[in-house]
Symmetry: C2
Subunit: 278 residues, 2 copies
């Protein structure tokens, strides 16, 4: 079922809650792939009702980013959601989400100034704003996010903790193509040649994981292994290669507790990200 | 009933909601007077259950403000709340409200850069943060604020609208002493002489209201009437005298639609505020 109005969604959810149903929520920007599908299926398995939002959120795109060209296909998304067992697809119109004189900002400091945040100023402010709005509209018991956007997960978890939002954040593993490329809505932009080159992301991370498993503790050495592998690929240009504390996203020098190994790489003009937590 | 732990309050409220009870919420910094009492009684008259929070919120005090010396008397507050019909007084400890590594901020721009916001940088960020936390903890149907803090009401309403927080904000009129002085927790700091001098706030606003009723449209003239009256009082020092749009808090030149006439005046070292909406 497709819902476009906040009011309609709210009354639907209130009726569910009166019946005692639990509500799961999967926020997306649409252009859904098997990664999103895995989130929806997980939510369906854990909740009585599941809301999937499909909203290309303007406030999380920078002025030179791909808001206008970001892929949109609501009919295809709706089919995927319904087949995966979602109860409602919420596809709000931008005008109802953001008033012309909107004045309120939600931001997480520290965690947002590194990794993708350092490269995309304002991006996580936009994410925090839209996610807090959605959480207030949907009031879910659990909300599902993909580990692919590892920094987003860390930021949202911090925001939920700091603002006492009564929701459990569930993180789901990265879903990959058979050859290892992490699923992404932006993969469709890749030419055949770039598609092959893009494998350098997962390949370099695999090498790093192997080294860490072999008890290599030096963050500097692991980072160099990744950088060296990426540099071999002529179509690839490193945006960042970082190894940080998986919760605070602060730099670490040695691998002692849980770390996030996260990379962002341009393949031609397309910026791709990948990561693992060890 | 006094509750100190967030977890305990949450489970109490969830039990109420399962029973179908409506919940009213009155956020306060304690040191309760008849102004707060009127909010609580209004909440009691409109809801099945009423939560009053008593929390001197450190994040809304500036470094040179009176956080440490702000009056606190939880026993007296508890008695007042219970007598007024409140169900629960929520008196959280600061450590449970704010983690050492708290990173999340909520802020409203525009409306907070004028009036008290111009004089108290960061004050409304602190208010927005704590109110959003409380609204997420209490999840009330209605929340009650005093018109005395007119700018706070405008800021909270904007935040609630922009973040889609599902609560109705109810504004209650200013409660005054018999001689006109607006009730305030800070009034107890006034010496006898200052107490008399403090009447200049309500007196100057009465003069202004009379002029506006007499169809005076010029904001400049009204402002001068107020300033002139306050200046007559030797113990008084004007902090601001402003006449603004009552919703956007933007400056207006002529009184055409609903305006907020708001003043802040130092009486000795004590800063007092008062206002009316016309």
């Amino acid at each position: 079922m497709l819902v476009k109005e906040i009011k309609e969604l709210r009354s639907l959810i209130k009726a569910w809650k009166r019946e005692g149903f639990t509500v799961g929520f999967v926020p997306t920007m649409g252009s859904l792939h098997e990664g999103h599908e895995s989130l929806i299926k997980k939510a369906v398995s854990e909740n009585d009702k599941v809301v999937v939002s499909v909203f290309v959120n303007p406030t999380q795109f920078g002025p030179n980013e791909d808001y206008d060209s970001y892929p949109r296909d609501i009919d295809k998304d709706l089919t995927l959601c319904m087949n995966a067992g979602a109860s409602v697809v919420f596809n709000p119109i931008s005008k109802e989400m953001y008033f012309d004189n909107k004045s309120t900002g939600v931001s997480v400091s520290g965690l947002t100034s590194v990794l993708c945040g350092a490269k995309r100023p304002g991006h996580f402010d936009g994410v925090c704003l839209v996610v807090s709005k959605f959480l207030n509209i949907v009031t879910p018991d659990k909300a599902y996010f993909g580990q692919k956007d590892a920094q987003q997960v860390a930021v949202i978890k911090r925001m939920v903790r700091d603002l006492n939002i009564d929701v459990e954040i569930v993180t789901c593993p990265i879903i990959r193509e058979e050859d290892g490329l992490a699923k992404s809505s932006r993969n469709i932009y890749l030419s055949d040649e770039e598609r092959k080159a893009a494998l350098v992301l997962s390949r370099s991370l695999s090498l790093a994981r192997k080294e860490i498993k072999n008890r290599e503790k030096s963050v500097g050495k692991i980072r160099n292994i990744i950088k060296k592998e990426i540099t071999k690929e002529p179509l690839a240009k490193i945006d960042y290669v970082e190894i940080v504390d998986s919760e605070s996203l602060e730099n670490v020098e040695n691998i002692e507790k849980s770390v996030l190994v996260a990379i962002a790489v341009f393949i031609g003009k397309i910026r791709l990200i990948d990561n693992f937590i060890f």
